[in-house]
């Protein structure tokens, strides 16, 4: 369980990148928190820098789009999903349950 930041520090529409291996991006999409692998599966770009719209995040480099709920790409050029990670809030603090091992994504 990895502490991210205080809930108050991640307002709606914002995202934050945490330097795990691999890095994870945490989003506040309309009040719902999501965590996905931060690196676009198409080419090296940080999705935490992406454009957040509803439950979708658009990669800042080539406009590949991912569904935060499933990690699945919703359009080209990305073809592979990013992994999703469970997020919880305890005492006003956001935590990511980082799934470090390949293949353990639920």
């Amino acid at each position: 369980m990895i502490p991210v930041c205080h809930l108050a520090d991640l307002p709606v529409g914002e995202s934050v990148r945490i330097d795990t291996a691999p890095p994870v991006a945490v989003f506040n999409a309309d009040g719902q928190l999501y965590a996905i692998d931060d690196t676009c599966t198409h080419q090296d770009a940080s999705l935490a820098d992406g454009w957040l719209e509803g439950c979708l995040v658009e990669c800042p480099l080539h406009a590949a789009s991912f569904d935060l709920r499933t990690g699945a790409p919703t359009c080209l050029p990305a073809r592979r999903a990013v992994r999703t990670h469970p997020v919880t809030v305890e005492d006003g603090m956001i935590y990511v349950h980082h799934l470090a091992e390949e293949g353990t994504a639920a």
Binding site: Q43, D44, D49, G50, W51, P60, H62, A63, R79
Partner: protein, 389 residues
């Protein structure tokens, strides 16, 4: 329309093929590529692929599942040599011909080369085979690398070679590289990236010839137009590209630094469209990844409709990764537009700048500021979108 031939198994060619199927074309689809590889992504060739951080499998633009879904006939390692518009046929090397009701021209561009014979160890970088050859040449320990041309490809190659531990010199004929793209003030900032990483940038000098020696005629030095000699073990020539239209001469199609077509990618022949680097659409030609992908869907729609029913004028966008810095640019900058620093600092190699004319933003440039860049790029795209689109 029963059959379509896509000439060029490139990014633009693949996106055109995808668009054909996505728009309901269920006839015969033939994709002709002069390289032996299936479509792959070129931008990493000068970056992660060159440094070895990524491999060939990561370059593929379509996986086996999608290749199967496309249901196309692939003629790879096959060069188109002519277009017989009267017969409705594409001529292929080896004397074969391919008849098709519709043709998508996606033959891209080829690197400009230095005139005359060049010694072994001299490279251009456009294709996967080029990148593999250069990578192999750089693998034998620290070398003296001279890069001719300090445009984006030259700068990216220099950056990758420096990261691999080579001693790198970049030679640029202009007094300052990237001025046509970025304007003088911003180009000056980008040029400092070379020195940050101990790469020597020599500007305002051309190359008169390359010296070679030994049984294999391997390159030993680059002779500059002012007479200076730069010792070199590997030379990379990055002095721009020419659209690949030679095979279309005599076809009757208008050629002028590309295949001349309208804003919908349609040539004077409604059943022939052009996309990507080879297309000179509505008077301008783009050599950018994003425009290649965007043009395909529009051109294919017009091809299937039999006339120009849709046009496309995307906001130009390009990016470059050099020395760990991501440079992103979007918009239409005209000479004289004034860059204004919006946030960050050039000294930190992290900033956002807007180009302005008469109080209006014409373009935006970012170094290592992807998020605000993206916001401004979207705003700019909205503001400049033609009302008819």
């Amino acid at each position: 329309m029963k059959s379509v031939a896509v000439i060029g198994a490139s990014l633009a060619g693949l996106y055109a093929a995808r668009a054909l199927r996505a728009q309901g074309f269920d006839g015969r689809l033939v994709i002709v590529g002069d390289e032996r590889h299936r479509p792959y992504d070129r931008p990493p060739l000068s970056k992660d692929f060159l440094t070895g951080a990524s491999g060939q499998e990561q370059l593929a633009l379509a996986d086996a599942e999608e290749i199967a879904e496309l249901d196309a006939e692939w003629l790879l390692g096959t060069r188109a040599t002519g277009l017989d518009t009267a017969a409705g046929a594409v001529l292929l090397d080896g004397g074969r011909s391919l008849s098709a009701d519709g043709v998508v021209l996606a033959t891209g561009a080829a690197p400009r080369r230095l005139p005359g014979e060049v010694p072994t160890g001299t490279h251009t970088l456009r294709t996967l085979d080029d990148a593999q050859a250069l990578r192999a040449d750089l693998a034998g320990g620290a070398r003296r690398v001279v890069v001719i041309g300090a445009g984006f490809i030259g700068a990216e190659v220099a950056s990758s070679c420096a990261a691999l531990g080579h001693e790198v010199t970049v030679v640029e004929a202009a007094p300052l590289p990237l001025v046509p793209q970025l304007g003088e003030e911003m180009a000056r900032i980008c040029a400092t990236l070379h020195a940050d990483h101990k790469v020597t940038l020599l500007t305002g000098t051309g190359v008169s010839r390359l010296h070679g020696a030994g049984a294999d005629g391997r390159v030993t030095a680059v002779e500059l137009s002012d007479g200076r000699l730069l010792g070199a073990d590997v030379v990379v020539v990055g002095i721009g590209v020419r659209p690949h239209t030679a095979w279309l001469e005599g076809s009757g199609l208008p050629l002028d630094d590309g295949v001349v077509c309208d804003a919908g990618g349609v040539t004077p022949l409604p059943h022939v469209v052009a996309v990507g680097d080879v297309a000179r659409a509505a008077g301008s030609r783009a050599e950018h990844w994003t425009s290649a992908t965007e043009q395909a869907a529009v051109a294919v729609r017009n091809l299937l409709a039999g006339s120009t029913v849709a046009t496309h004028r995307s906001l130009p966008y390009f990016w470059s990764d050099q020395y760990g810095v991501r440079i992103q640019f979007a918009g239409r900058r005209a000479p004289g537009d004034t860059p204004r620093l919006v946030e960050g600092s050039p000294d930190d190699r992290s900033f956002l700048a807007c180009y302005e004319r008469d109080g209006r933003t014409t373009a935006v440039l970012a170094l290592n500021r992807p998020r605000p860049f993206m916001r401004l790029r979207r705003e700019l795209a909205r503001a400049t979108r033609p009302a008819t689109a």
